[in-house]
Symmetry: C2
Subunit: 254 residues, 2 copies
């Protein structure tokens, strides 16, 4: 397929590369920033622009992968001259109808993307939605060229999927970050000692539910340890609050 | 070495099996519960008892791996007749001095153990401490027979290490659990769609710090998405509080 890529952030970069490798033709990359636009265009062997007015008028699909808050405005400025074209965005939390286009859809690859770490797209579940049946079929076909796991999911349920991903990825990662802070301040232990524990925490989920996998003072409701650990966090009231809230929530779930 | 194992819980089971496989002789297993004691003793080809008074009097090391709150009492009842023996516990959050024995130490393998999932002990970092230099050397040697990563760490710093592990493992896992709840209630998406995302979240830490790895609405401080997601959690005030607190904490760390 001929694809125009609007955006050159982490997701756009990873998605663009996966589409390119799967044999699709990325015909143009747009980004507000010249450096980002040209870097990604180089990798995808295509032209680039930093001017929305210069975006190509015809393609099989326009993929808009920019920050959520800019979606609506950028879509508006692309409307003129592109009637009848298919536009999709890649934002988990945004409804399909944020787009004014008649042919509109969503192509949400659920993953945490960092620019300088390439990911194996084939294992990333992709969630697609489209206004028309034909476009939905087209997006499914497109998704299957880069991923082994493609789901059809409407905007309402995708909101919760994205929220679930925020817990499973961003908040879990923040727990790692808080753990890293503690190690930095006490003892002389490098954070990488935590990696086998973190790997096992993730790996357990292949054979049991996270609820079954839970261990530690909160699920045992070991009040003695809990009280002592809350005290250890005395100098950091916010972390203390997180500790209390998470422990209570683990205990109540049991 | 000849080892007596007091306890037959998740940690004791995994540790006992690793020691056995490394060629040590587990001479006896004690557990309050007959079923647990005999199951583990069978696996370790040794005798078992459910009576503390029948615990063997001489061994190279007595490993006490029971719940933290029982450590002190069990230690007291083992004192008589075992003068001069080396006792260690396996509890990350308990100081070495919870033990009344002259020869005392700690052998803390930092991992999340579930009984029905065996782990590769060689990658588990073990943290050892002992009252005497000779016993410390002995515990280091013992630890190196089952793990590639052995650290000496005192009780004060181990408290923080264990607290860090609570964040990196238990709290991160609870984020997975909260994410799983959301999926169960909305849409018809199985939790295993989250596994590639969770794997990548863990895997990123091999090439960047958790702070560098952070993505999502909170680190971008996308107030629009954050407000909408808080609203989605309207029916669950506790999860809403966790969402707000974690998002704020991610934002402030930036």
């Amino acid at each position: 397929m001929k694809i125009v890529l609007i955006g050159a952030g982490n997701l756009a970069t990873n998605l663009g590369k996966a589409l390119f490798r799967a044999g699709h033709e990325i015909v143009q990359v747009y980004s507000r920033t010249e450096a980002s636009a040209s870097a990604l265009a180089d990798a995808l062997h295509c032209s680039h622009t930093t001017d929305l007015k210069e975006v190509i008028k015809r393609a099989d699909v326009f993929v808009i992968s920019i920050k959520d808050s800019a979606l609506s405005a950028v879509a508006s400025s692309l409307q003129e001259g592109r009637e009848g074209q298919l536009f999709v965005h890649t934002a988990g939390s945004m409804p399909m109808d944020v787009f004014p286009f008649e042919r509109r859809g969503v192509f949400y690859p659920m993953q945490t993307f960092s620019k300088n770490k390439e990911v194996d797209f084939s294992v990333i579940p992709c969630f697609v939605e489209a206004k028309s049946k034909d476009d939905l079929q087209c997006l499914k076909t497109l998704a299957l060229t880069i991923s082994d796991t493609v789901y059809e999911l409407d905007s309402e349920n995708r909101k919760y999927l994205h929220l679930s991903a925020v817990f499973c990825c961003n908040f879990a990662n923040h727990c790692f970050s808080l753990g890293a802070d503690l190690l930095k301040k006490h003892g002389n232990i490098p954070f990488n000692v935590m990696l086998p524990l973190i790997d096992e925490t993730a790996s357990k989920l292949y054979s049991m539910s996270p609820q079954e996998a839970q261990t530690g003072p909160a699920v045992r409701w070991d009040e003695n340890v809990i009280a002592k650990q809350i005290q250890l966090l005395d100098e950091n009231p916010e972390m203390q609050k997180i500790y209390e809230l998470m422990s209570k929530s683990i205990h109540e779930e049991k």
